[in-house]
Symmetry: C3
Subunit: 309 residues, 3 copies
Amino acid sequence: MAKNRASWSKRDVISILDFSREELELLFEETDKFVTQEKAPNTLSEKIVATAFFEPSTRTRLSFSVAALRLGAKVIDLSPDVSSLLKGESFADTISMLEGYADLIVLRHPSEGAALFAAELCEKPVINGGDGSQHHPTQAMLDLYTVSRTLGQIDGLVYAVVGDLKYSRTASSLLYALTKFKPKMVHLVSPEALALRKEVYQRLKEVSLPMEVHSSIEEVISQVDVIYLTRIQKERFADPDEYKRLKGSYVITKSLLEKSHAIVLHPLPRLEELPYEVDRTPNAAYIKQAHWGVPLRMALLNLILGDSQ
Amino acid sequence: MAKNRASWSKRDVISILDFSREELELLFEETDKFVTQEKAPNTLSEKIVATAFFEPSTRTRLSFSVAALRLGAKVIDLSPDVSSLLKGESFADTISMLEGYADLIVLRHPSEGAALFAAELCEKPVINGGDGSQHHPTQAMLDLYTVSRTLGQIDGLVYAVVGDLKYSRTASSLLYALTKFKPKMVHLVSPEALALRKEVYQRLKEVSLPMEVHSSIEEVISQVDVIYLTRIQKERFADPDEYKRLKGSYVITKSLLEKSHAIVLHPLPRLEELPYEVDRTPNAAYIKQAHWGVPLRMALLNLILGDSQ
Amino acid sequence: MAKNRASWSKRDVISILDFSREELELLFEETDKFVTQEKAPNTLSEKIVATAFFEPSTRTRLSFSVAALRLGAKVIDLSPDVSSLLKGESFADTISMLEGYADLIVLRHPSEGAALFAAELCEKPVINGGDGSQHHPTQAMLDLYTVSRTLGQIDGLVYAVVGDLKYSRTASSLLYALTKFKPKMVHLVSPEALALRKEVYQRLKEVSLPMEVHSSIEEVISQVDVIYLTRIQKERFADPDEYKRLKGSYVITKSLLEKSHAIVLHPLPRLEELPYEVDRTPNAAYIKQAHWGVPLRMALLNLILGDSQ
């Protein structure tokens, strides 16, 4: 355990693939402490955390801010200047500036690889708060934590990942995360136009993640333990009529869940794919999931920036 | 008194109508402490306050932020994400997110009833920082505090509420607040097009608030003790000429005040209705009023979030 | 020394011309402490610093924020409301509002004289974070600190100030700062269209700053000890072809520096005038310069707001 703890110290968090099962399990145990603890320790009182969001994301930005503040850290935010930064200086110079000001950078960026590039430039730890279309490692950590603490296990379960598997970085990240565990089966449920990218599918095949492709949630609902739902955005469809025709197959309704014991996860924010009527079903796990976002990120920041013990 | 103090604990602040005279007087006494105290107590050091302003308002946002910070609380602000939130997820989901992050939410919203809706959804206290066209309870508290601490009383005075009574939520809120006290008379002074909404007038009539309607401040200036001035915005008039013709009747000039002992209040920001020449008259109370915004909100946050004693 | 320290207390920082050589040297000595100290003292824990940037400036805003936070102060930021403030109330009323909320205001404004005007209105210290085209005093302090701590002296050196001398407030501020010391020579290197404003040149002449005007850096490169480079913005040229033709004369390349022992300073952000290849030359001092921005501003805030000793 002590070894794992040391492996987190001052570490970049770029892709969930960079973490071992043991490291993730340690993170989950640390998260448990912050879930139950009323009063947060003041472990980061000498630290400054910078949030640099080149794409808006309320939940990710605020959950990191709250996590840092609760541990006593100070937070600086790049938001007021993002629009002029995008027109102005290079990304490399912006990162170098933040390296001078902060002890850790949380970055969200539309470009694939932006977080990795920042981490290579910067001697301070960089946390990827989502970049490109594949990586959002802290969301995947939260997803697995929620499965683990709700169902008692991650291994041996049947998962359905539903919706836009092409553009949703949370879907890809969760699939990468599952390769660190032993799921019984992963059903990929999406319209063809929003199917998982070939390169992601190949990578998962190589590590023998058991997967099946489906075009409707109805086909698998009776077998799954975990439904992971993502937003389907109208704009992704060339033809609005196709959107109307297809969207029903990726909406989780209350009546659909009556046939199912599965827990429902969603990274939020949601659109039509997750109606409010589901909030009060026993299946809904996404509200708890959202609330655990802060303690999980407290545990993460504390492992990375706190004194190794 | 102890009973009143308990009645403030964990309370929502949606409309000034929800508070009793005794509760307001307790708030004013607590405010006195923060006005005179040099060093603020660190009573909220474990708390996080979220400011969620779906409409810009510098004074209200910053005075709540400063009040929270001075009491040791941390502040998170939704501003950088407001534009994308307005296009994106539901207001209910946004409030639910903030409920997970903060111990109290200060909300400003253009829609009537937004604060009440948020308070119903959210188990944490919600403070209405202004919604729709009628409610801005903390401004009304500040207005009455200023009258009370400047003139020594709220009862028995003659008030003139002047300007845009139709769209100004601060004017309606003050009138609602006055129903908790015993003003001698309230003069409503506005152009016809900007007269008090019928439903507000009716409600005030029902509780027998003594009111008279006027179309010019000149008609009542010699009798009033308190002038409450609001902005008249050009855009409210269909005809720009009408604006030019009328605005003079709702401007408080230095020469007008020479005939008057009245104190002048204004929620700020101001436009042409309150020329700078008035700032140095003995009548001007709005600068003091603005500076008392922080101690009043410190008292409010402390009563709601501090330990009940 | 004690006398100098007192002269900094509660002081406005509007123009570098307002400070004596002794005062600047005291600031530099105080900065040394914050450069070497690992743990910042909590001297400003009762203070609130407001950043009011009516023009975006990431480095200046964040370096002041970080400096204040590291000293234990709280920071409030006007950014979310700047666009509505620019349409709305007067600048004077905005400053008066901030005076009520904060213990010190850091201001950036496009208009010449905005900081002076604010300082006259406001009893709390105002720091000019850049206004108009001539003044950015804390950047000039940082520039001279970097020269002093890199070359061991400010006097007796040969300087080249290169690029846009007309619109760059950092260039003018540095020139004003040099009048407090004894440089051997200052070369002004710019295209004619971007030459130093006559009024600035006159003012420098009056205090006998030794100056020479050049149109290319090549002319002086072999003699200079310090190259101060500023951005040349395409938009300043009426004719894009002229920009293309001229810009080469104001770019500092690695091969150019092979003939030179000069250190290179740049206020950042940079554009084409300072290629990345220069970053790894021994001449590059601008990265160190940027990192010293925080300790210098810590020293400044501490001298102004801390207890005089």
